[in-house]
Amino acid sequence: MNVQDRRRLLGPAAAKPMAFSNAIIDEQQKKPVNMPSKDSENGDELSLHTGFIENCNGSALVEARNLRHQTSLITAVYGPRSIRGSFTSQGTISIQLKNGLLEKYNTNELKEVSGFLMGIFNSVVNLSRYPKSGIDIFVYLTYDKNLQSEAPAGESQSKKTFSEISYLIPHCITSITLALADAGIEIVDMAGAGEANGTVVSFIKNGEEIVGVWKDEGNNEDLLESVDDCKEQYRRYRDLMISCLLEQKSLDTSSS
């Protein structure tokens, strides 16, 4: 450890500097906690994995592919950890979104999305259980590609650059919910979201309550219909998440 850190004992002399292994991909291939599923109507394919990163409390990998779009993102949850400063009677959540290899989205758009996600998960996580603590969530966009843009290239350029992030948000919500459940952090419900016509709506309580709305494109007229489409997608994603978690749990018990 060449970093001078006077605040703590640095441990035995043989201690090596901490480094994150690059072997995450191998890890997830080893773990057979895989839930590929296919929705024949939209050509939606969703694959969910949990608990494959060792040094965080909970993690999730969501890979989604449909006719328009292909995405893969990794979420890691750290905490609850002690936070310093003034007393807080309930936990604090921070969510960071990071571009992966492809620097596709600019930082203030990602910040806006992470602020939006924080709003959602502030209402989903049972924060009163975590006084004086912070929960850090990191979402890493490993892969994100618009499949449609290859075919009609001449369509309006500006439209493409803006609306893409709304395809991403439902998967961010899915993966954060899974990672939180994997970390054993109390959440009041499996939050999920659906996307229709550029509108993203996130629900809890079987669609009885909305926790987040995001719309970048299009007009207001179709908004209320989109809400119903989103609800349908949310229910599908939620059922998948639940079966994924339960399957993982039963695997855990059989191994112990």
Binding site: Q90, T92, I93, T107, N108, E109, K111, E112, S114, G115, F116, M118, G119, I120, N122, S123, L127, S156, Q157, S158, K159, F162, G198, T199, F203, I204, K205, G207, E208, E209, I210, V211, G212, V213, W214, K215, D216, E217, G218, N219, N220, L223, L224, V227
Partner: protein, 265 residues
């Protein structure tokens, strides 16, 4: 100003009751009084200063530049600076990103109004400085941007419109200016408290709100972006889908009044 737990609970109950009782006696759709001054910065093309009744204050300056619009896609660029916040703070980046989406060409803004010649356009830089803010400032900022853009005068073009064949740069009149006629969108912020919706929430109302909505209004109708926004981090909850509908209806009903009063400055 932070409220105690008991005060917050009292405030929440009164706001969530039917009809909701707001601390300052406003109706659910009523705005707080605002003061707007325009055109006071001599070095910019347009400017405005807005002061809300709680002391929130915001200055907007409009500057322009001639660009080749085949290269530059976005003809409006917003930059937000909030006093006391770092440039990479969450609230600053969120508002910047949101306002850039509000003012992007093709949505609320008609980019042909900024076109000078076949090759060149004006690019408008909107610089926002929030001097003090107590509740979510995005609505206040958008009002300031609206009045600043409406008081913007740009130099008058005297060269030919068709410059594709001839290689010439646009030339401008020495002192004549043309008023910029774009109809910028407005952003409304609504607080959801229980089953009630409140327009223009004050700081204490934001502190107890269950959720918030950001709704954009342009040219007589609701447009995107539409967002839900957590107005605090302690009291956030889900809301019923009907409330989204109610919020849209409320904006639809009262937004034109706001536009009218801003136009009559």
């Amino acid at each position: 100003m932070s409220l105690s737990v008991a005060e917050k609970s009292y405030l929440y109950d009164s706001l969530a009751s039917t009809p909701s009782v707001r601390t300052d006696g406003r109706l659910p759709h009523q705005f707080r009084p605002i003061e707007i001054f325009t055109d006071f910065l001599p070095s910019s093309n347009g400017s405005s200063r807005i002061i809300a009744s709680d002391g929130s204050e915001c200055i907007v300056s409009i500057k322009s530049k001639v660009v080749d619009h085949s290269v530059e896609n976005e003809l409006l660029q917003v930059d937000v600076d909030i006093a006391g916040q770092r440039d990479d703070a969450l609230i600053v980046e969120t508002i910047t990103s949101l306002l850039n989406k509000v003012l992007k060409s093709g949505g609320g803004i008609d980019s042909s109004k900024l076109q000078l010649t076949r090759k060149y356009s004006f690019k408008i830089f909107v610089d926002v400085l929030v001097i003090s803010s107590y509740s979510h400032p995005v609505s206040l900022i958008s009002f300031a941007i609206y009045s600043a853009l409406n008081s913007t005068y740009l130099p008058k073009l005297i060269s030919a419109f068709d410059d594709l064949e001839v290689e010439e740069l646009p030339t401008f009149h020495d002192y004549d200016m043309v008023k910029l006629e774009i109809n910028p969108p407005l952003v409304f912020i609504l607080a959801i408290v229980g089953n009630n919706i409140l327009l223009d929430p004050a700081a204490n109302e934001s502190g107890v709100a269950n959720n918030g909505l950001i709704i954009t209004w342009s040219n007589g109708k609701i447009t995107s972006p539409i967002r839900s926004v957590a107005l605090n981090d302690s009291n956030v909850k889900g809301f019923k889908p009907q409330l989204l509908k109610q919020g849209l209806a409320m904006v639809e009903k009262y937004a034109s009044d706001v536009v009218r009063s801003l136009e009559n400055l």
